[in-house]
C-alpha cells in the first residue's frame, strides 16, 4: 500500500482538512441521534471513511464530476456545499434542491457537478465514463470520479464502466472505498481477487491500492491519477482500504455479523485521530485546539439542524413536477384529480 513520506500539504491546509473531517464526523453523530429520536427518517453514516473521502475530494478540481453513491457526505463537504444544503436533503424539506424526492443521503447538486445519487449499486460508475467522454469531447480539462464500495465491484456497471473507460481511454478516476463490508458480506466473500485494485488489469489500465485511512496517501494517489487522466493517459482504479465504523445504515445491526474485536482493531486506525496525532506531534495543533475544533463543528451542525428542521415539507403539487419536462396528458389528468382530492380534504398534506 502506498505510504507517504511527509505531509502532502502545508499545515494550514491540513488543519482545514482535519476540520472538514471533524465536521463530517459531527454530522454523522448528530444524524444518527436524530434518527434514533425519530426526527430523521433514515441515515447512512460514513464514520471511519473520512480519510478516504476527504482525501479524494481534496485532490479534485472544481470542474471535476462527482458520481457518488449514498455514503459520500464527506466528499460533499470538500466541494464547498453548505452544511444547510446537505441537511435540507436529509430532511427532504422544501428547501431541498431535489424537492424531498429521495431518501436521506441521496445527494445531488448540479451547480457543484455532484451528480444526483440513486440507491441501485454501481449504476453511477458508467455514468462517470459518459460524463468524462462528454467533457473531453467539449474540450474541458476535467475528470469524472465515480465513488463506490467493495460490494459494488461485483455489480454489472462496475464491469461496463471499467471496460468502456479502458476502451475510450476516458479521463476517469474510479474511486473504490473498500470498507471491508457490503452490509453483512465481508470483502473476502465478495470476490476472490487478491486485491480490488488489480481488477483494473482486466481492463487494460492501472489499479492502485492505498491506505484509505491515511489522508496523505489517498490525496496523492488521486492527484497522480488525475494528472494521468488529464494528460490523456487514461483511467485509474484506486482502492482505498478503509473501514465502515458504524452500521450500514440506521436499519442495520452490525452485531449480527461482525466482531467487536474487528471494530476495535480498526478504531485504532481512525483517520481523524491519525491526522490529529500527526499535527500534534509536529506542533501544528494542541489537544486543546483540537477539542475546540470539535466543539465548533458540533455547534455548527446543531445550528444547521435547527434551521433545516424548521423548514416545512415540499408543497403537495411538487409531487408531479419533473417527471417529464412538462406534464403529459395522462399526468395532467392526475394532477387535476389530485387538486380535487386536496380541495375535498380526501388527501391531507
Amino acid at each position: 500500500m502506498g505510504q507517504m513520506e511527509g505531509p502532502s500539504l502545508p499545515d494550514t491546509e491540513l488543519l482545514k482538512v482535519l476540520r472538514t473531517m471533524s465536521l463530517g464526523r459531527a454530522v454523522d453523530e448528530r444524524c444518527m441521534n436524530l434518527q434514533r429520536q425519530g426526527r430523521l427518517g433514515f441515515y447512512v453514516p460514513m464514520e471511519g471513511q473520512e480519510g478516504a473521502q476527504i482525501g479524494c475530494g481534496w485532490a479534485l478540481e472544481k470542474g471535476d464530476w462527482i458520481c457518488p453513491a449514498y455514503r459520500e457526505m464527506g466528499v460533499a463537504l470538500t466541494r464547498g456545499i453548505p452544511l444547510s444544503t446537505i441537511l435540507d436533503q436529509l430532511f427532504g424539506n422544501s428547501a431541498d434542491l431535489s424537492k424531498g424526492r429521495q431518501m436521506p443521503n441521496h445527494y445531488g447538486w448540479r451547480d457543484h457537478r455532484f451528480v444526483s445519487a440513486s440507491s441501485p449499486i454501481g449504476t453511477q460508475i458508467i455514468h462517470a465514463v459518459g460524463l468524462a467522454y462528454a467533457s473531453r469531447y467539449k474540450g474541458e480539462k476535467v475528470i469524472s470520479v465515480p465513488f463506490f464500495g467493495d460490494g459494488a465491484t461485483s455489480s454489472t456497471d462496475f464491469h461496463s464502466g471499467m471496460n468502456f473507460a479502458g476502451v475510450y481511454k476516458a479521463p476517469v478516476v474510479f474511486f473504490c472505498q473498500n470498507n471491508q463490508w457490503a452490509i453483512s458480506l465481508p470483502r473476502e466473500k465478495q470476490t476472490k481477487s487478491t486485491t480490488l485494485a488489480m481488477k483494473a488489469n482486466a481492463y487494460g489500465f492501472p489499479g492502485v491500492q492505498v491506505d484509505g485511512n491515511d489522508f496523505h496517501a489517498v490525496y496523492s494517489a488521486v492527484k497522480d491519477a488525475r494528472t494521468r487522466a488529464i494528460r490523456g493517459e487514461g483511467p485509474t482504479l484506486i482502492e482505498a482500504v478503509t473501514y465502515r465504523m458504524g452500521p450500514h445504515s440506521t436499519s442495520d445491526d452490525p452485531r449480527r455479523y461482525r466482531s467487536s474485536q474487528e471494530l476495535a482493531t480498526w478504531k485504532a486506525r481512525d483517520p481523524i485521530e491519525r491526522l490529529k496525532e500527526e499535527l500534534v506531534t509536529r506542533g501544528a495543533l494542541t489537544e486543546a485546539d483540537f477539542d475546540k475544533m470539535q466543539e465548533e463543528v458540533r455547534a455548527e451542525v446543531a445550528q444547521a439542524v435547527q434551521q433545516a428542521e424548521k423548514v416545512g415539507p415540499p408543497e403537495p403539487r411538487t409531487l408531479f413536477e419533473d417527471v417529464w419536462a412538462r406534464p403529459i396528458p395522462q399526468l395532467q389528468e392526475e394532477i387535476q384529480e389530485f387538486e380535487e382530492l386536496l380541495k375535498e380534504g380526501v388527501i391531507r398534506p
Partner: protein, 325 residues
Amino acid sequence: MTDMTLIQGVNRALHQAMKADPDVLCLGEDIGVNGGVFRATEGLQKEFGEARVLDTPLNESGIVGMAVGMALYGLKPVAEIQFLDFIYPAFDQIVSELAKFRYRSGGQFPAHVVLRTPYGGGIRGGLYHSQSTEQLFASTPGLKVVIPSTPADAKGLLLTAIFDEDPVLFLEPKRIYRTATGEVPDGDHRVPFGKARVVREGSDVSVFAYGAMVPLAFQACQVLEKTGIHAELLDLRSLVPLDVEAVVRSVEKTGRAVIVHEAPKFCGFGAELAAILAEKALYSLKAPIVRVTGYDTPFPYSLENLYLPSVDRIGRAIQRTVAAG
C-alpha cells in the same frame, strides 16, 4: 394454527420446504448470517448450512442466473432479491432466460425458480425502496406472479410456489410484513394459485386489490357499509394465473368495478383487469371502471402519503362509482 406475522409466514414456509426437501436452496444478498435485511430468512443458514443458504456477491443477474442454473439441474432454488427495486440488473435473466427456458427447449429444460422480494411503499423508502412494478412481470409469458396479503397466504402461497413447476415471482408487501397478523395453519399448508380470495361479499360494487392494498380497501369497504354501500372485495392473490372467472363473475353481480393498486396507473395491472371486464362483462357494467392507483410519477419520499392510495381515496372512488350509474 399459530398466530404470526406475514414475514413469519414467509420464514415458516422456507423453513418447512427446506426441511422437507433437500433440493430446496436459498440464495441472495445478506440472507445467511444476517438472516435477510427484513429477517425473512432468519435462522435458515444456522439450521441448513452454508451450502444450502448462500450469501451471494452483489449482483442480481448473478443471483437469478445462478438460480436458473441450479434449476436446470433440477434443484428448487429460492432466490431473494433484497428489494424489488433492485431486481432490474437481473431483468434479462428473468425475461429472456427464466421465463423462456421451458418454451425455447420444447419442454426439455424447465427452469423452476422462486424469486422472493419485498415490494411496495408505505415505509418511507423513496424512489428505490418502494416501487410496485408487478406489471413488468405479469406481462411476460412464462412467469407466475403471486402476492400474499395475510400470514396464512404468505405461507400457503410460498409453499405452493416452491413446489410448483413454473418460475414464480413472489412479491411480499413489506409495508404489512409485521402489521398483518393472523392464524396460520401448521404443517404443509398450501394455497392454490389462480383462486382469488373473497375478503367480503357485497352487491353494489366489486373492489379488486392485492398486497398491502387489501387491508386499506377492506377498511374503506367497512366504512362505506355504514352508508349503505355493500362492496365486494376480492384479494387477487395471484396475478398470473389470474382468477378471471371470479373477477368477471363478481362484476356480473355488482355491475361496477373499482381497481386498487400502488403501481402507477398507466399500463399498470389494473389496465388488464379493466380490459378483461370491457371484453367479458361490458353489458353488465353500469358505471365506468375506476382505477385507484399510485400516480404516474416515480415514487416520492417526503410526499409518500399523498402518493399512495389511502382508505379515503379508495372510499371516495367506490362511492362515486356507485353513484355514477
